[in-house]
């Protein structure tokens, strides 16, 4: 069973009308996840909402929150002639302090785009004289795939595979946002795919401690419209509950098998988020048993000098404090072809999405 185009359009109209009806006072809703940000733009959802409903992007773009120090380290590794970098395509264009992986690749670095971390192991076997450094970025959804890859490497006796971990956990970042006095969020669209792994439990603090409604939401246009609708329903009735819109995928308990593998390989660690600084317990480090797969420990580098781009307001964008168009660089000195900050490069970056999908340029008829 699938919806026809007409059915989709009419269901959308139902939610849009409901949202208009419920949105009597201005509200600010944060879509935590970058995939939501992109879906919202690609479906043109903003044009269906009343001016009272503002959608603001959160920190859920793993590439955007990865600080320059990590990128500079990856770039430093890529410059070693005996190292092959494997990475998701997402990382290629992101600027570090004074280069990017794409620029290094153009200069001759061996950098391979993988769709799955497992491909790194094939590359490791085919290149026994090289060291393979996998750029392990991503949230709860992605970290277990990297962990499983480490377990596979162990089992297959692969000794030339290493992980440069920048994995991050979403709940500590949400806590940081909510701890910030300037934050103004009336409801959260929670990231359906991280919750798929973590389960609902880690997110109850939003509704219970902060009394802010939250809806775990899928990624189709109708999922998002329903998510907004469900948030407004709660707001208009003064409720603050954790609702699961994405029940076909998200189980209350998440995926315990994936979490067991994650916990075997990784342990929580403090981590630096771009724009936030250190957030306690928000990162993942390899456990002692798997230390030998840790690139930083196994392949020590000299000191990497890093600095964040001056004038870039990614940090505030990621924390939901300003909208991309509020940055004076936006669309002028900062474009996808000549980005100042990571948020203008990552497909899921809020600045990139606002720019690409025409916010501030397209005059909607």
């Amino acid at each position: 069973m699938r919806l026809t185009t007409e059915e989709t359009a009419r269901a959308a109209r139902f939610f849009a009308e409901g949202i208009h009806r419920l949105a009597s006072r201005p509200v600010r809703l944060m879509e935590v996840c970058g995939t939501h940000t992109v879906s919202i733009f690609r479906a043109g959802i903003r044009q269906l909402l009343p001016p009272t409903v503002e959608l603001v992007s959160g920190p859920g773009c793993p590439v955007c929150v990865t600080p320059n120090e990590y990128l500079d380290t990856a770039i430093a590794y890529s410059r070693c002639s005996d190292i092959i970098i494997t990475t998701f395509g997402d990382m290629l264009k992101v600027p570090g302090s004074d280069s990017s992986l794409m620029a290094e690749k153009a200069k001759g670095a061996d950098i391979r785009i993988v769709y799955s971390p497992l491909e790194s192991l094939t590359i490791a076997r085919e290149n026994p004289n090289k060291k393979i450094v996998f750029l392990a970025v991503g949230f709860e959804t992605t970290a277990p795939t990297a962990a499983a890859t480490v377990l596979q490497a162990e089992q297959q006796g692969i000794t030339n595979f290493f992980v440069l971990s920048a994995h991050k956990l979403v709940p500590p970042a949400l806590k940081a946002i909510l701890a910030e006095p300037k934050t103004k969020v009336d409801g959260f669209l929670l990231p359906g795919h991280t919750v798929t792994i973590s389960g609902l439990e880690p997110y109850y603090f939003v509704t219970q401690e902060h009394a802010i409604p939250a809806v775990v939401t899928g990624f189709e246009a109708l999922d998002i419209l329903q998510g907004v609708y469900l948030l407004l329903e709660q707001i208009s009735t003064g409720k603050a509950e954790l609702v699961n819109q994405y029940r076909r995928v998200v189980k209350p308990e998440g995926n315990p098998a994936a979490r067991r593998i994650l916990d075997k390989v990784y342990q929580p660690d403090n981590a630096v988020w771009r724009g936030f600084g250190v957030i306690a317990g928000s990162g993942l480090a390899l456990t002692a048993v798997y230390q030998r797969f840790d690139a930083k420990a196994a392949l020590p580098l000299g000191k990497v000098e890093s600095r964040e781009p001056a004038g870039c307001r990614c940090g505030e964008v990621l924390r939901g404090l300003i909208m991309p168009a509020d940055c004076p660089h936006f669309g002028l000195s900062c474009t996808p072809e000549q980005p100042v900050g990571a948020c203008m490069v990552s497909v899921e970056g809020a600045c990139a999405a606002w720019y690409k999908y025409g916010q501030g340029r397209w005059s909607y008829a």
Partner: protein, 75 residues
């Protein structure tokens, strides 16, 4: 944050499965979802199946959307 796509398992070994995603097939690792069986729908991310898709819930969501659509059409 995490692109993921629904897929149907059409073949399975201990660690791997062949899945069908809208007519396209791919090998994925089943390490993170050991229980899933041939015929099941699963969610794929970065080459791994990461969760089973609840068919009943999926149908219910679709049915709900259809119903709403009806509702909108009636009003």
């Amino acid at each position: 944050m995490c692109l993921a796509v629904p897929a149907k398992i059409i073949e399975r070994t201990e660690f791997m499965a062949t899945v069908d995603i809208g007519g396209v097939t791919r090998q994925v690792s089943m390490m993170l979802l050991p229980e899933a069986a041939v015929g099941d729908y699963v969610l794929i991310h970065a080459g791994f199946a990461i969760q089973a898709i609840d068919e009943e819930e999926a149908q219910q969501t679709l049915a709900l959307f259809k119903e709403l659509e009806q509702y909108a059409a009636d009003n």
